[in-house]
Every structure is written in structure tokens, then in C-alpha cells.
């Protein structure tokens, strides 16, 4: 294993609701290497966000991590005390949230919000912290940082707010950034700016990043490796080239062929039938079987193993060996 920064193994996070136990994350394993961007793709309800929240142990009630290990630089985060955890949050592992309009506090100035994080983790004066905050804003290519620092979030546009959220995540030189759909709330031209910024920062600062998204295009553009999630479980893991050119799990194939694309025009889109399953009573066996075009009796009866298939790839499917899956990218 080359310098693994983060290793999540067999993570299970359940939500104990009145309606029943929602198995939002049910046995997810993934790892992130030094200087690498791991894409985590999946639809809503597939457990992407809960996985990220579990890593920082900020799963909202009634959710609870019930099983698994989360190893960050050799420490098992699930064994740490809350106090030790607080020293990791924001400093070692930083989080960029989906919606920049709700993650910045509307009653504090931008500079105060940035310096708060810096002063929390470093023993420096407010003045120095503000100076550092100005540098950070310049770092994320915000024009006129001296002016911005004295503004309130409502005076800024969505793209600028997301840049500030990124600056806040970078403020303590973290090892790992968890970016939860950082561009979903933005327009495409602004999304292009932010993706470019993330790529550039990652290369310049040698960051490791987990990029959560539902857009296969963003994965292909930004990530080195990708983990595909479905209904709280991993479908497959591999490098971006491997997964896009030779998908081994039927869900990945379906995801690649059902998304309309600028480059690949088709008369009729192929369709994944049905809906995302209910996670209180997930389907038996392989969770994708009710919607899978290749499902057989074994898929209904038995839960597939999450097995390594060489080249660092893992697949969660009974039939990966016999299936000849096609990717629209390869042709």
C-alpha cells in the first residue's frame, strides 16, 4: 500500500429512526493515498455524504457509526476521544460543504470566520490571523482580498463564497480535504473555475482529497481514482481509466450509458429501471439486483463478496468474471 493517508474499512453507519434502522452506510471500504484525489460517486441516498461525515465523526443524530475502522495516518479515528478529534477536524482533515450559502455564518465577516479557524488551531494573535486570512483569499484567487475580508457573506456571489469555504478548509494546511459536492450549487462556468482551482491547489500543496460528486464528468476531469457507491455499499473501486474504460460492475456501466453527454449523442438514452431502494429494507443479496440487467438467482440469494481483482481494483459483484460490460468511453 503506497503511503495511504486514509483507510476506511467496513464502515457501517446506521440511522436509528422511528420508522426503522436506515442502513445509510453498510460496509464501505475505501482508501486515499498521499497526493491523490479519490472520487466518490453515487446518487442521492447512496451514502456518499454520510461516509464523509463518518470520517470526521460529525454524523448527525440519530445516526451512529456502528462498525468499522477509519485509519488516518496510522490512528484509528473511531478510538480517539472527542477532544483529540477536535484537534483533527479543520486542522488535519478539512471539509468543504456542498452549499456555500449555508456553510458561512451570515452574521460574521469573512475575515472573522477565517481567523476563527486559524486561532482555534494555532496560538497567534487576531491581527496575524487576519493577515493570514488575506493571504488565503489571495491563494484561492479572490480579487481584492483586503476588501472581501471585511464583507459579510450575503454581499458575495456563490462562486466567491465557495472559494472562501475552500480557503477556510486550507487555513490550517490540512493533509486531507473532504469536498462534498463542492460545485453542485454553482453554475457551469463557475463550476469550471472552482474545479480548476481545486486541481491547481492539489498539485501546488500536494493535498490528498476525497471529492464527492454525482457527476461522472467531474470524476473523469479531476480524480485519479474512483469509488462507485450504490445504496450504502461500494460497487467497485479503481483508477479513473480502469473504471471508465472497463467497468466491472453493472451499475457503473448503467451509470455511464444512461447519462446524456455532449460528446456522445444517442437517439434514445438507455435507462436504469426503477428507483433507488429504500435503505430500511434494502433488497436481499446484491442491492442492485432489482435494477440490474444481468441479475440471476444467485444475486437475489447471496450477498456478493467485495473482492480484489488485481491492479488495485475491487468489485462487489457475483458475475464480474463472466460479464462483458461495455463502456461508451472505450468505443
Amino acid at each position: 500500500m503506497p503511503d495511504s493517508v486514509l483507510r476506511v474499512e467496513n464502515l457501517r453507519t446506521y440511522f436509528f429512526t422511528y420508522a426503522g434502522i436506515v442502513k445509510a452506510v453498510d460496509g464501505i471500504s475505501l482508501d486515499v493515498n498521499k497526493g491523490e484525489t479519490l472520487g466518490v460517486v453515487g446518487e442521492s441516498g447512496s451514502g456518499k455524504t454520510v461516509t464523509a461525515q463518518s470520517i470526521l465523526r460529525i454524523v448527525p443524530s440519530p445516526g451512529r457509526i456502528v462498525d468499522g475502522t477509519i485509519e488516518f495516518e496510522g490512528k484509528n479515528l473511531l478510538k480517539l476521544s472527542e477532544q483529540q478529534m477536535q484537534r483533527i477536524r479543520g486542522k488535519e482533515i478539512a471539509y468543504v460543504f456542498q452549499d456555500p450559502t449555508t456553510t458561512l455564518d451570515p452574521v460574521y465577516k469573512v475575515g472573522d470566520q477565517l481567523s476563527e479557524v486559524i486561532m482555534r488551531h494555532h496560538n497567534i494573535s487576531k491581527k496575524d490571523a487576519l493577515a493570514k486570512a488575506t493571504d488565503l483569499l489571495r491563494n484561492v484567487e479572490i480579487p481584492d482580498p483586503e476588501i472581501r475580508i471585511n464583507q459579510y457573506p450575503h454581499e458575495l456571489s456563490g462562486g466567491t463564497k465557495q472559494r472562501i469555504a475552500i480557503a477556510r478548509a486550507l487555513s490550517c494546511d490540512p493533509t486531507l480535504i473532504l469536498a462534498d459536492e463542492p460545485t453542485t450549487a454553482l453554475d457551469v462556468t463557475i463550476q469550471a473555475q472552482i474545479l480548476d482551482l481545486l486541481k491547481e491547489l492539489k498539485n501546488r500543496l500536494n493535498l490528498s482529497m476525497v471529492l464527492i460528486t454525482h457527476d461522472m464528468g467531474i470524476v473523469a476531469d479531476v480524480c485519479d481514482r474512483v469509488t462507485v457507491l450504490y445504496a450504502g455499499q461500494v460497487c467497485e473501486t479503481g483508477t479513473v481509466e480502469q473504471v471508465f474504460e472497463e467497468p466491472k460492475h453493472p451499475y457503473t456501466e448503467a451509470l455511464l450509458t444512461s447519462v446524456p453527454s455532449l460528446a456522445l449523442r444517442k437517439e434514445k438514452l438507455s435507462v436504469i429501471p426503477g428507483n433507488v431502494p429504500n435503505l430500511i429494507q434494502p433488497p436481499s443479496g446484491c442491492r442492485f439486483h432489482p435494477r440490474c440487467a444481468y441479475a440471476q438467482q444467485i444475486c437475489i440469494d447471496k450477498v456478493p463478496e467485495f473482492e480484489p481483482i488485481g491492479d488495485g481494483r475491487w468489485v462487489h459483484c457475483h458475475r464480474w468474471k463472466e460479464l462483458d460490460l461495455k463502456s461508451p468511453v472505450a468505443s
Binding site: I190, G217, A220, F244, S258, L269, V329
Partner: protein, 330 residues
């Protein structure tokens, strides 16, 4: 349908102690003209705040246009909505329907699916009461739902199913024209394809005309016949889908296309990053509204507004210095 010089301004007020002071207007839609042919899907693309939704709402008179006129089958509908009696207005409403962006907020949570779909019957009384139930079930099946769904409430459905209910409701009055405002934007990717295919099948079966609004160029390419690109209340380029995607001419269109990530790791995009953000529509930049962000601006761009002219058969463009050749990400 033909739209001529349609304009919609929203006044912005500052509230004083006694009087309101008018600060200015949001130029949501400014002097827009185009036509939609029968049986086609006309795409309207642009970023948030460019006036797509306002334009569509004006077409159906959900917003009252500030000026300009809209002709539907040769009739000036702005006149009918303004002066016509109730039966004339209802007759028009039966021909034009709207599918809203968010199927979570456009269905009344306290009505069953049957009530939702039959409400148009009650308002319009265009079919006899005895046929209401049959027609309702027919509509449900047409959009791919089952008969037993009729008794349920919206909260029991997923996003894709709700959007199907919205489509069934729009179809309840046998419209000829449907404005679909980002119908798949709030749905999961695996469900989007289902709804897009449904819209296309219905069009073929019922001969519908669509106005399809989206910020997502890839779905537009998939279902539209012609596409107009909007920027800050203006149409900057309009062409057949293939023509637009193969030979985009306006720098904004080119930038918009290059900004979309392509799901292929080998694909190297020459991404054109536009500097800055969409300016305020209260004080839009003078002349060409795109010029402060445009990579190809020349002197005249900030002085005289470029007219929308036909540069090739069926390809309309408002730009002085269009993108040279085909070097785009498609």
C-alpha cells in the same frame, strides 16, 4: 408560436418611511424575439439569472410582460389574456401547460394523485364528468404509473415518480404546447434518462411542442431540435441543435460548452475559463452584455449593441467577433 420583442422588467424598490423609491429595474428579459415551430422541442439554455424561467412564465402569461407580444397559432395571446373573457382565457390555458422545476413543491401534499390529475377537469370542464376517472387512469398509464398509485399522496413517491405526476397533470387538458422548466434538474442521474425518454415518447405520440429550459447542455443536445442560448436577458445565439453544437459561434456558447466536464478520462478539454461572474441584471453592462467577460472582445463591443442576425441559414448570432473555427470540446 412567435415571440416579438418580449421584455420583462421587475422594478426594485427601496422602502422609505412613507414612500417607496424606485431604484431601478431588473432587466430579466430584454427585447427577445424568436419563434417555436409546431411539433418541435425548442431548448432555452443559460446560467441561473439569465431570464430563462421568466421568459417561459411570460409566454404562459404567468408573469405579465412589460412589453412585446406573443402569438400562438397566429393569435395575439397577450391581448386575449388582457381583455378576453374567462372562457377565452381558459381555452388558451388548455393549449399551453407548464411543468415546474421542482416536483417536491409543485404538488399539493394534501391531495391524492387522483385529485391532482382531475383538478384540471374541474376547472376546465372540457370533458363530461362520467369520463373523469377513465381519463385519469389513462393519463396515469400514459406516464408510466400504475392504477393503484391514484389513491396515494405525493409524499409516497420518489422524485422521478412525482415528475411523472406533474407531466400527467399537464397532459390532463390535452395541451398542444408544454413549457418544461428544468424538468430533470432535481432528479437523480439514473432517473433523468427515464423522464427524458418519457417526454420524447409523449411528443411523438401526441404531437406536442415543447419549450425545454435547462442549464445542462448535454440534456439539451439530447432532446431539443433547436436551441437558443441566453445571457443576461438576451438571446445571444440560436440555431439547430446539431449546427449549434458542431459550429458554435458566440464566445459565450463556446465557453459554456467547454465548461462541461466530459465523462472520459482521456478527453483533454481546452477549457475556456470565463473570468468573473454574471453581472447584475439591474445595471447590465452597456452594448454587448457579455463584453466584460468575453475573451474575444473588440472595441465596438462596449459601444454598440450587436443585433441578432442570421449568419447562416437558421443560425442566428449576436456578436461582432465570433469564435473562428471548430475547435470545441464536442
Amino acid at each position: 408560436m412567435e415571440i416579438k420583442d418580449l421584455t420583462k422588467h421587475f422594478p426594485v424598490y427601496e422602502r422609505g418611511i412613507i414612500l417607496k423609491r424606485r431604484l431601478g429595474d431588473v432587466h430579466a428579459v430584454d427585447q427577445v424575439s424568436f419563434d417555436i415551430q409546431e411539433g418541435e422541442t425548442f431548448g432555452l439554455v443559460g446560467e441561473s439569472g439569465c431570464g430563462k424561467t421568466t421568459l417561459a412564465r411570460c409566454l404562459l402569461y404567468l408573469e405579465i410582460p412589460t412589453s412585446g407580444s406573443i402569438f400562438f397559432n397566429g393569435k395575439n395571446i397577450t391581448q386575449i389574456f388582457k381583455r378576453g373573457n374567462r372562457s377565452q382565457v381558459l381555452a388558451l390555458r388548455r393549449q399551453m401547460q407548464y411543468i415546474f422545476q421542482n416536483p417536491y413543491s409543485s404538488l399539493d401534499p394534501r391531495m391524492t394523485v387522483a385529485d391532482i390529475i382531475m383538478e384540471p377537469f374541474e376547472v376546465h370542464r372540457h370533458i363530461p364528468h362520467a369520463q373523469w376517472l377513465d381519463r385519469m387512469y389513462e393519463l396515469l398509464r400514459m406516464v408510466g404509473l400504475e392504477d393503484y398509485h391514484a389513491e396515494r399522496y405525493p409524499h409516497e413517491f420518489s422524485g422521478g415518480q412525482r415528475q411523472r405526476i406533474c407531466i400527467a397533470r399537464a397532459l390532463a387538458v390535452d395541451p398542444k404546447f408544454i413549457a418544461a422548466d428544468e424538468p430533470v434538474a432535481s432528479l437523480d442521474v439514473s432517473v433523468r434518462a427515464q423522464i427524458l425518454n418519457l417526454l420524447r415518447d409523449l411528443q411523438q405520440k401526441l404531437g406536442l411542442t415543447y419549450l425545454y429550459i435547462s442549464h445542462d447542455l448535454s440534456t439539451v443536445r439530447h432532446i431539443c431540435h433547436r436551441v437558443a442560448v441566453m445571457y443576461l436577458g438576451k438571446i445571444v445565439e440560436l440555431a439547430d441543435t446539431e449546427e449549434l453544437f458542431e459550429h458554435p459561434l458566440h464566445p459565450y456558447t463556446v465557453a459554456l460548452m467547454s465548461a462541461i466536464p466530459i465523462p472520459d478520462p482521456k478527453h483533454k478539454t481546452h477549457r475556456i475559463i470565463l473570468p468573473g461572474e454574471v453581472p447584475s441584471a439591474i445595471n447590465p453592462p452597456p452594448a454587448c452584455r457579455f463584453h466584460p467577460r468575453c475573451p474575444r472582445r473588440i472595441d465596438i463591443c462596449s459601444k454598440v449593441e450587436p443585433p441578432l442576425i442570421e449568419v447562416r441559414p437558421g443560425h442566428w448570432l449576436a456578436c461582432y467577433n465570433p469564435w473562428p473555427s471548430k475547435q470545441v470540446a464536442s
